[in-house]
Symmetry: C2
């Protein structure tokens, strides 16, 4: 038996006369009195292979009963057809394996809503849409590793269970083996939580390897049901010693360009599928292909300071634009609507926003020098990358490298965690300027696929009151 | 400024006359009245670069005060020397950046014990040993991704927070936002735990993509302080549909061979470092180089059934061998001492042990047909890969594909979890024979580096009562 992936058949015309064995799952079975047709997908491509069987086949009686979803292995001869859509088919010789799906198998040959398929998360990757989503997710994840490895970054597994709270905000999940708050009696002898970021740990390793990155799960116990938030999601956090804001922006840009280009090159069928899908559902006026092409060009990425952004928003308001949050003023946090207005209507492309007010950012970010004309406006060397359709894709900064300033920030931001002394001490241990960012894997997948609910780009998503599978 | 990694200097002889800038951390500073020498490492290689400065340099007074551990950036001319160990040095022109380490910086130029360095986990990767360990960890992780991607596997992020308990054994960490056991009021509306394995979820995706793998953190709340157990560790779990035990053994073997070969090719200096280190400490009679060479050869891997292993152990006992657990009989679980005896003294190499008794394995493993001569000896299509110095590196099996048998196993193994119905239902949804295994990343790192404590191959290890950093 020469077991062949369906993808190989489509890639190699010259294989078209071989006898091959195909293993996969049945998408449909149509038959008449003398001849029948099975459509089989094996996960290697979105395409299916048509298998033709006829009444003379010893397995005819079994074959006509094959249900949608069944696992099957068949051997036969590849014969060329003159149809454009299906340049070849498999003329069945033998049925080698068959495990029938129940008649009530939920994924039938019709359109299913994403909501319905979320309840079938264990089966939904057998649909074209989810096969394409998780194929692209795989490609994006590997493309990120490839880009960073080729750039001499060291992959670091930062800890998942932690006593730190990197952001000093947001709800944490507690990790425990007891049912009280007497954490001194708990497994770790203290209160433990799931990490919200690997950055603090990555900073330590950047002070040895210079360029490191984390790639792991992070957690937020926020009780919010939006299309962009999940309790469990994956982040990539590069951290670089001897870096500044400019080099960090360049790294973020180069990474996104590299990943999008990689997906365009390696998943053309999937990208085309998403492009057609977005067109047909009119969920977006944006053409996905155009968006992705734009994202591969360095000149598409604009850089604006936070102060410039506030000026743009104020001007828009003057000209009649109304935001839901319409009290635009320096010092406010940018809302998703502002971010999307900025990159969808003003820049019509990705925008790096830099130098945010210190008060709305995290305690570890490095303060910029105060300018003489605006002494009350303290900003930090931070950057967010905003992208069309998503809003914030990346958030990063230069880290405060001065021990005393960092301790002062700790007080100012009311960080009460006493498990961070090792982090502060890094500043006394030969600390090179350090900068980095966090990239939300799921948001990048949403950007590249056009899928607009985070629940549909995570294999088994976790959200409030949702822990099935 | 042309910023150059020290590794590049060692790779390119022809660059030896350029003016370059080096950024790194000071390993030592020696100076007399007129000339001084800084040894700098920048994380790109184990090697250091010697920087020569003299009294005429405007920065002389700063330079003589430079402490071990300081972050530094220097520009100068690379000049060739006639020393074998150090073929070139940097003649300092300018000191561009300096952040002094405190005088009590803990990593001084002397031998530190691993125990001491565990308490300095935020700084220990600035030693040669830990720089080498985490460089090799990075290489192993990427080599695994490369091998599986090149073999058309799809990387799957299986969930970390789960209501399942894949092994049906071992202590779980609870994930919660409350301090009671009223989990119906908790974030997910039910009891949630940290995953012990992504296998059950991977099985679902293997039924769409055929070949998938997880690569993520897993957790055990076992209160055991051994050199081989941590509360948080990383696992790689390939799962393949239309597979059997034989193909699974081949996959495991090919993966280990590929990763070891990759490390030998890409980290020769680090492997050499570990080899010298093992020799000098005499921690192992095994020569690391020989062990790794053996692991790259397919013919080194033996396959024995569990029943054959018991016969070997019984024969050893007859011949005078005494085990700590000496009550050798069919049905017992193999202890670490038996596993190591088998591969260190009998096979003198890696051994796959297959067809374990069903009672000592997990509920989801496929039962073998009962042979007529030993009807009471029910075995499962499982395999463990045992390796010298470590014991179990990989554990895998064929999965039970029959719905009724799986439900019967659930009862027999007293699995009381009601959140697994989706997993059982996979068997009614066109289930192809499925098999896979779990590979412990840290154990593979220990095998390849010869490091014998798991705490030293995890950047920030988590063990009972240990949650610093």
């Amino acid at each position: 038996m020469v077991i062949v992936a369906i993808k190989q058949l489509y890639n190699n015309d010259n294989e078209a006369t071989k006898v091959v064995t195909i293993q996969g799952w049945v998408k449909s079975n149509r038959n008449g009195n003398k001849v029948g047709f099975l459509d089989i997908n094996d996960g290697s491509t979105l395409k299916t292979l048509q298998v033709v069987y006829n009444v003379e086949n010893p397995a005819w009686k079994q074959l006509i009963e094959v249900t949608t979803g069944s696992a099957i292995s068949v051997t036969g001869e590849i014969v060329l057809t003159d149809k454009a859509q299906q340049p070849f088919e498999l003329k069945l010789q033998s049925l080698d394996f068959l495990n029938l799906a129940d008649k009530n198998y939920p994924i039938q040959k019709k359109a299913h809503s994403h909501e319905f398929l979320r309840e079938q998360a264990h089966l939904r990757s057998r649909t074209d849409t989810f096969l394409a989503i998780f194929k692209v997710r795989n490609q994006i994840a590997f493309a990120i590793h490839q880009f960073l490895q080729n750039s001499d970054f060291i992959y670091l597994n930062s800890p998942i269970i932690t006593a730190n709270d990197a952001e000093g905000a947001g709800e944490n999940f507690i990790v425990t083996t007891i049912t009280s708050d007497q954490y001194e009696k708990d497994f770790f002898g203290k209160k433990a939580a799931l990490t919200v970021s690997g950055q603090l740990n990555a900073e330590a390793y950047a002070q040895a390897f210079k360029k490191v990155y984390t790639f792991g799960p992070t957690f937020r116990a926020e009780n919010s049901n939006t299309t962009r938030h999940a309790a469990e999601f994956w982040m990539i956090e590069p951290e670089v010693a001897f870096a500044d804001l400019e080099s960090t922006i360049k790294l973020a840009k180069d990474l996104v360009i590299s990943v999008v280009s990689n997906v365009l090159e390696n998943c053309p069928a999937e990208v085309d599928f998403f492009n057609q899908r977005l067109k047909s559902t009119e969920q977006s006026q944006d053409n996905l292909m155009k968006r992705l092409a734009m994202l591969t060009k360095a000149e598409s990425y604009k850089v604006l300071t936070y102060t410039e952004v506030i000026e743009i928003l104020l001007k828009a308001k003057e000209q009649g634009k109304e935001f839901i949050f319409n009290d635009i003023k320096w010092g406010m946090d940018l809302q998703s609507e502002h971010e999307r207005y900025l990159c969808e209507e003003v820049s019509k492309g990705p925008v790096f926003v830099t130098n945010y007010p210190q008060d709305i950012k995290a305690f570890y970010m490095k303060a910029n020098p105060i300018s003489q004309d605006t002494p009350e406006r303290r900003t930090v060397a931070a950057m967010d990358l905003l992208v069309p359709g998503i809003g914030e894709l990346i958030g990063g900064s230069v880290r405060e490298d001065d021990y005393d300033k960092l301790i002062a920030n700790k007080k100012q931001f009311k960080i009460e965690n006493n498990d961070l002394q090792w982090y502060f001490d890094l500043r006394k241990s030969g600390f090179a300027p350090s900068a980095g960012f966090g990239l939300g894997l799921e948001r990048l997948i949403m950007l590249i696929t056009g899928i607009n609910n985070i629940r549909d780009v995570i294999p088994f998503p976790r959200t409030p009151n949702n822990l099935t599978f």
